[in-house]
């Protein structure tokens, strides 16, 4: 078995772009969230906004990449933060606010996927994916990278929602297994199974690319 995931197939080809493209920030669950949560529970609007400013970008980025639709992503981020700020009393570990709000957002993403399936069944799903991975690809990356990412995009849409979410969190966002498990509201073992299944199915879809890589 290859030691890296499908997503890392792109690494050698984009080595030249690594300096220019910075790694996006990740949610840092440690730190002074506890103080902000305590103050927000007391009705401090400034603390609420500080929590939002700290975690909104990471949550919005993840949600956008999961849903691939900017308008829906904004709605989900909005709903997630409204829920989180309204239910701060339910948060057991205030240091984990970021992880918790991401978990809420991922639940809402799953709800969106179900709504989409229903609307598609009725023929009423008119939304277009405008935040696909291919659309986010750095223009400095070569056309081959663009083509591969586009292929990956198509393959991702065929995956079951849970597998897709777990794989994107793990290999696009770079989350650890614990973070994937927390966001997906499942155990570590289940998270690993979901990622492995997604990885297997994606490999089957982009088998041609892998074969070409191994030829090099």
């Amino acid at each position: 078995m290859r030691p890296t995931a499908l997503g890392s197939l792109l690494i050698p080809a984009v080595a030249g772009h690594q300096d220019a493209a910075s790694t996006p920030p990740r949610i840092d669950a440690a730190g002074p969230d506890r103080d902000l949560v305590r103050r927000a529970r007391g009705g401090d609007r400034w603390a609420e906004e500080a929590l939002y400013r700290r975690h909104a970008r990471a949550v919005a980025r993840t949600v956008s990449r999961l849903l691939a639709r900017s308008v829906e992503a904004e709605d989900v981020v909005q709903d997630a933060f409204i829920f989180a700020l309204t239910h701060l009393e339910d948060l057991r570990d205030p240091d984990l606010f970021g992880r918790w709000v991401l978990q809420v957002a991922v639940r809402l993403v799953h709800r969106r996927f179900r709504q989409r399936s229903f609307l598609r069944l009725l023929g009423l799903d008119r939304g277009a994916d405008d935040v696909t991975l291919a659309a986010q690809a750095d223009p400095r990356a070569g056309p081959e990278i663009h083509a591969r990412i586009a292929e990956l995009d198509r393959a991702l849409t065929r995956l079951p929602a849970r597998c897709r979410v777990a794989w994107v969190l793990r290999y696009v966002e770079g989350s650890g297994i614990d973070e994937v498990a927390a966001a997906s509201s499942c155990s570590r073992a289940t998270a690993k199974r979901l990622i492995a299944r997604a990885d297997r199915e994606l490999r089957a879809c982009v088998a041609l690319d892998e074969r070409e890589d191994s030829d090099d």
Binding site: P3, T4, A5, G7, S8, L10, I11, V14, H17, A21, T23, P24, E49, Y52, A56, R57, A60, R61, S64, R65, S70, A73, E74, V77, Q78, I82, L85, L121, L122, G123, L124, V131, L133, A135, Q136, A137, D138, A141, G142, P143, E144, I145, H146, A147, I149, A150, E151, L152, R154, R158, R170, Y171, V172, E173, G174, S175, K192, C205, E212, D215
Partner: protein
């Protein structure tokens, strides 16, 4: 199970951050605004939206706006009902692909495929010894016999789009595309092919549909769209027999679109997959002198 180390988002290194400060600020404004509302107001808004959705659903059901997946099997286009014959014999019904053909007691010969439809011609008012009207062929029957122009004429100006909406299988959609394409209306073949790719992406015909769409786009002078269609065909797992042609056409499309970087990348993939390919010379020629001149098909 050995856990792999976090990969720090390798894909993310070539992906731009899709989130803008403006969108974050916009979301926060909405969060603040919605949090400021009373819960009762939020509930009222939700009930209102539910009511609107219910009303829409009822209206849609009443006016037959439900999508094809929920509709009953559509009837085939039928000609105007002729006036009842004066004689006592039975009139032959219309041939249908789904319905059993009616009894043909009064028909002298089987339905000829080349009968020109004359829906406006009234039945003779005088009493005849036997009913002479014959069943009109449907567009499906004409298409099945290779009479695509006749099938297209039977579909009429808006019939093709209507049938695309009603098509219950990938085969129907492919047939509609063939009817449009082979009757000299390639631009109208786009809709059934796109619909097929949308509804049946896992169908065995999907790669061929994407490839056909690409060829049509290329013929219609839309090389960018053609390239995307060819890429899709390859992504859907086109058979090996088709793959070489698709990869060559992809190079051609990018060259004609003026995207030489993409053309070179596609050319590299072609040479790698088919080092001794039949179209290698053409690909080399396109890449060596990438002038977007018309290219032979």
């Amino acid at each position: 199970m050995t856990e792999e180390p976090p990969l720090e988002g390798p894909l993310a290194r070539v992906l731009k951050d899709p989130v803008t400060e403006a969108s974050l600020a916009r979301v926060w404004r909405h969060v603040e605004r919605r949090r400021g509302r009373a819960p009762e107001l939020r509930m009222a808004v939700r009930w209102l939206l539910a009511g609107v959705l219910l009303a829409f659903s009822v209206t849609a059901a009443a006016y037959g706006l439900w999508p094809s997946a929920l509709r009953p099997i559509p009837d085939l286009p039928s000609p105007p009902t002729p006036p009842p014959p004066k004689h006592s014999g039975k009139v032959v019904g219309h041939g249908s692909a789904r319905n059993e053909p009616p009894a043909l007691e009064l028909q002298d010969t089987p339905t000829p495929s080349s009968v020109t439809p004359e829906p406006a011609a009234p039945a003779p008012a005088t009493s005849l010894p036997r009913a002479t009207r014959v069943a009109e062929p449907s567009w499906r029957e004409e298409a099945a016999q290779g009479h695509h122009a006749e099938a297209y004429a039977l579909l009429g100006s808006s019939g093709l789009e209507r049938e695309v909406g009603r098509a219950a299988s990938s085969e129907d959609l492919f047939t509609l595309a063939d009817v449009a394409r082979l009757s000299g209306h390639p631009e109208r073949a786009r809709a059934p092919l796109a619909r097929l790719l949308e509804l049946y992406p896992h169908d065995a015909r999907a790669p061929l549909a994407a490839a056909t769409l690409g060829r049509i786009e290329l013929d219609l002078g839309q090389p960018n769209r053609a390239a995307r269609a060819f890429e899709r065909a390859l992504g859907l797992g086109a058979p090996i027999a088709l793959e070489e042609d698709l990869r060559a056409r992809l190079v051609e499309s990018w060259v004609r679109a003026g995207d030489l970087d993409a053309a070179r990348a596609a050319g590299v993939l072609y040479r790698k997959r088919f080092p001794d390919g039949r179209r290698k010379a053409e690909v080399d020629r396109w890449l060596s002198s990438p002038s977007p001149s018309p290219i032979r098909h």
